[in-house]
């Protein structure tokens, strides 16, 4: 028995030492960078450590906003920041703004991106990948702003970040992107063949068991709160929808002819109640037929984002 216990102890100790070593190395070198999609957004790291003060232009939203805003040119004149993250809910848009409320300059412009499915689907906590998605907010949000906060997850994310599978994979992706930078999706151009599949993938978890679209009241309520908070901070909220390729828009029309009535119906109600402006670039001809601006049918690539950011700042914000 003694021999068994001693060997078990030695085994566990060696494993613990190696793990601790790896974790320290990981935190030192990769933790900051290892967030979101590797190699794509400089703001990934900034969200954790370097959110600038006196932000003049910022944007919120899902991957459409995350990939759709590229402040490379605008940063020469303004302090800009991209608060969007892939699959980010409106509730987290609001929580992020709460977290960084002191960083927003009075008179700033806040672009709130509304994706086609922003108002539809189940409440966030009921989504299949909620737990894995939720983990990323532990890195930079205050405890009280994290939905379903859990101390064990907090421990893993903060103190043992190297031990999560997704991080290891992201690390591998990151390492790969160093050697093959053109592999990064943001630098690619779109393959339009997947519009139907992408649409169906997006709509899949937005339906109830009878195939009817679910309205996400939580999300609509969070949008009102976000707008109110922007105003409270002295920022001008502007609702936008980022460009989509026409193949994707066609797929939506084909599969759900009533969709746009519902989508724009909600937006009209929001703009009427809050008095803020909405700019719809989803079918803007400057983008919707230009495959060179997209890396897939509904996400802008680096060049598309650069052009779109320039256009929207001039047209919607007058900057």
């Amino acid at each position: 028995m003694k021999k068994f216990l001693l060997k078990t102890l030695i085994y566990v100790s060696i494993l613990a030492i190696i793990t601790a070593g790896l974790n320290i190395a990981y935190i030192d070198k990769f933790y900051i960078m290892n967030f979101g999609t590797m190699g794509t957004q400089r703001n990934n790291s900034a969200l954790i450590k370097n959110v600038p003060d006196n932000i003049q232009v910022c944007n919120f939203g899902t991957s459409h906003s995350f990939y759709g805003f590229n402040y490379e040119d605008a940063e020469k004149k303004y302090t800009c920041f991209n608060f969007a993250l892939p699959a980010q809910s409106m509730l987290y848009d609001y929580n992020i703004l709460q977290n960084y409320r002191d960083k927003i300059q009075d008179g700033a412009v806040a672009f709130i991106a509304l994706s086609y499915f922003s108002f539809f689907g189940k409440p966030e906590v009921q989504e299949v990948d909620f737990a894995s998605r939720n983990r990323r907010y532990y890195k930079f949000l205050a405890k009280e702003l994290i939905i379903n906060y859990d101390a064990i997850t907090n421990f893993y994310v903060k103190y043992l970040p190297a031990l999560t599978f997704s991080n290891v994979i992201r690390f591998m992706n990151f390492a790969k992107s160093i050697f093959e930078p053109d592999q990064d999706v943001w630098f690619k151009t779109a393959d339009v063949d997947d519009s139907e599949v992408r649409y169906k993938g997006h709509v899949a978890n937005k339906l109830d068991n009878n195939g009817r679209r679910l309205y996400n009241k939580e999300s609509i309520e969070a949008l009102y709160n976000l707008i109110a908070l922007c105003k409270e901070l002295g920022a001008t909220p502007i609702l936008i929808t980022t460009p989509y390729l026409h193949e994707y828009v066609d797929a939506v029309k084909r599969n759900d002819p009533k969709f746009f009535d519902d989508f724009y119906g909600i937006i009209n109600e929001v703009t009427a109640k809050t008095g803020i402006k909405y700019y719809d670039y989803s079918s803007d001809e400057r983008y919707t037929n230009n495959h060179e601006f997209f890396f897939n049918t509904d996400h802008l690539n680096r060049n598309g984002a650069r052009q779109f950011t320039k256009d929207i700042m001039r047209e919607a914000a007058g900057l």
Binding site: M1, K3, F4, K7, T8, Y11, I14, L15, I18, T19, L22, V128, A131, S132, R135, D150, I152, T153, Y156, L160, A162, L163, T164, F165, S166, V168, I169, M172, N173, K176, D191, D193, D194, V197, R198, K200, G201, V203, A204, N205, N296
Partner: protein, 509 residues
């Protein structure tokens, strides 16, 4: 309490310490208390069901033994016990299915009925412990085992926590004497148990749980996918179900070894089978032998005409399918395997057509004992490339049959088959679309390839050498074996999803 939860990480060392610290006469009590604690951690209420099944079967066995001369009384007691135990199983697992199926059946004749359904949660592991108790009572009835008089020891045998919720479905003659036996701590057995558990965790956490992400993405929304994405998801599920279930069995066996108890082997490299018959001698062995002993042979096995033999096979496989779940998809899955075995029999039976020859082979059918392994082939069994081709064919068949198992409805399963090769305009395009649609990066694919290859090597060596890799590595020098153990441990730590313990697939059965 899941094996892959932190609670189990605390529970196991505590039970282990208490078990070996206390004298032998109290050990059954430690097993009993810890097992009930383990089971109640899911849902306290369902302890009533396991207790009910345990009491009924305990008393029935004693009564059967008491009336050993009176066949009618014995039969009556057995019937009542079967009805009681299977009745509980039926109510909790099958009632809604039968009620809904019956309603649909009547609607075919324009008779509209409203299905009566019960809102009951399926108790974890109910099929496993029910079958274990049934086997015990039937064995006592047959006189192949003696009724246990000590209720506590018997309850510990039924509820032994390592195998309680997902097997192996233990036989009385194997497990009960071990629970009663006086054990001395055995270093070799315990270390082997630890290694087996580590290997089980590796399969569950590094493969099953990670593959499940992609499998669920496709099968939870199957109509959004077509082409190679469906083939890929089916392949992943083939690996996932094996790693999940055999991973559980390995952890269970390893865990039991820490208490000096050897549970039966439940998997023997099933995906290296050269026929469906062989597959079933290597897959979920404790269940297939259960069906052999308590369904197939009582039906007549192969000691009858060809038609009846095939019918017996089909009945056994259909019931086996139904055991897995109350859904037509499981029944079809069982039937598909039954049909495949019947077809195999037709093509391989030429030499054994004489009824007396078949009689002598009756006991071997559906058993692990007729598996001779790669290096011990009989003269008429395939070698080399032929064997490899048959292994690939069997694997492919099993893989596609799993579609019925994983799909939530028959319509979904049919959709998967219809659309697996849809949109094929060239191999590269076909593959590329699949990666994109299921959202899999090359980095994931690389890591999966490494892990799946490790699994394949492990199983292949077990087939070739007739020893598992753990035993082979255990015999190596310290400088070889320890880096392997550490690498495996590190791999589990690094690559297992953290913060969320996922259930084992077979818990639902």
């Amino acid at each position: 309490m899941l094996f892959n939860s932190w609670q189990f990480g605390v529970f196991l060392p505590v039970v282990f310490a208490l078990y070996w610290a206390l004298p032998h006469r109290f050990r059954w009590l430690i097993i009993l208390i810890s097992s009930y604690w383990f089971y109640m951690s899911w849902n306290v209420k369902y302890v009533v069901l396991i207790l009910f099944t345990t009491i009924i079967s305990y008393m029935a066995a004693l009564l059967i033994e008491r009336f050993h001369d009176n066949t009618r009384a014995k039969k009556f007691i057995l019937t009542i016990t079967l009805i009681s135990c299977l009745g509980v199983l039926f109510v909790f697992k099958y009632f809604n299915f039968f009620s809904e199926s019956l309603t649909k059946f009547f609607s075919l004749f324009a008779i509209q009925l409203h299905p009566m359904t019960l809102k009951l949660l399926l108790p974890v592991g109910i099929s496993f412990y029910t079958f274990q108790t049934l086997a015990y009572v039937i064995d006592v009835y047959r006189g192949t085992t003696k009724a246990e008089r000590h209720f506590g020891v018997y309850a510990a045998f039924i509820s032994f926590f390592p195998q309680l919720v997902a097997g192996p479905i233990e036989r009385t003659n194997n497990l009960l004497p071990q629970i009663k036996a006086h054990h001395e701590f055995n270093y070799e057995q315990a270390t082997y148990g630890m290694k087996l558990m580590t290997w089980g965790f590796f399969k569950k956490l590094c493969l099953a749980d990670v593959l499940a992400i992609y499998v669920d993405r496709v099968f939870n929304d199957v109509y959004s996918f077509r082409g190679f994405a469906l083939v890929l998801a089916t392949f992943f599920f083939t690996i996932q179900i094996y790693c999940d279930f055999s991973g559980y069995s390995d952890i269970a066996r390893g865990c039991a070894k820490l208490f000096g108890i050897d549970l039966m082997e439940n998997f023997r490299s099933p995906y290296f089978s050269a026929s469906i018959r062989e597959f079933w001698s290597r897959w979920h062995i404790s269940l297939s032998t259960w069906f052999r002993d308590y369904v197939y042979i009582p039906l007549g096995g192969n000691r009858c005409g060809k038609f009846r033999h095939n019918l017996n096979l089909m009945i056994t496989f259909v019931i086996s399918g139904l055991w897995h779940g109350a859904n037509w998809t499981f029944i079809i899955w069982g039937a598909v395997h039954g049909a495949a075995q019947i077809i195999e029999n037709i093509f391989t039976r030429k030499k054994h057509d004489e009824p007396n020859v078949r009689n002598s082979e009756a006991i071997h059918e559906l058993t692990p004992e007729n598996n001779e392994g790669f290096t011990h082939k009989k003269n008429n069994e395939p070698h080399g490339i032929i064997w490899l081709m048959r292994v690939l064919m069997t694997f492919t068949f099993c893989m596609f049959a799993w579609v019925f198992f994983r799909a939530q409805t028959l319509a979904e399963a049919i959709y998967v088959f219809k659309n697996m090769f849809a949109g094929f305009e060239g191999l590269e395009q076909y593959l590329r679309k699949a990666w994109k649609s299921i959202g899999m990066s090359w980095a994931y694919w690389y890591s999966f390839s490494i892990v799946i290859s490790t699994l394949a090597v492990f199983d292949f060596i077990a087939v070739i050498c007739k020893h598992d890799l753990i035993s082979i590595i255990s015999r190596q020098k310290l400088l070889i074996r320890w880096p392997v153990y550490l690498a495996l441990g590190l791999f589990i730590i690094l690559f297992s999803p953290k913060g969320v313990a996922t259930e084992f697939v077979y818990f639902q059965f």
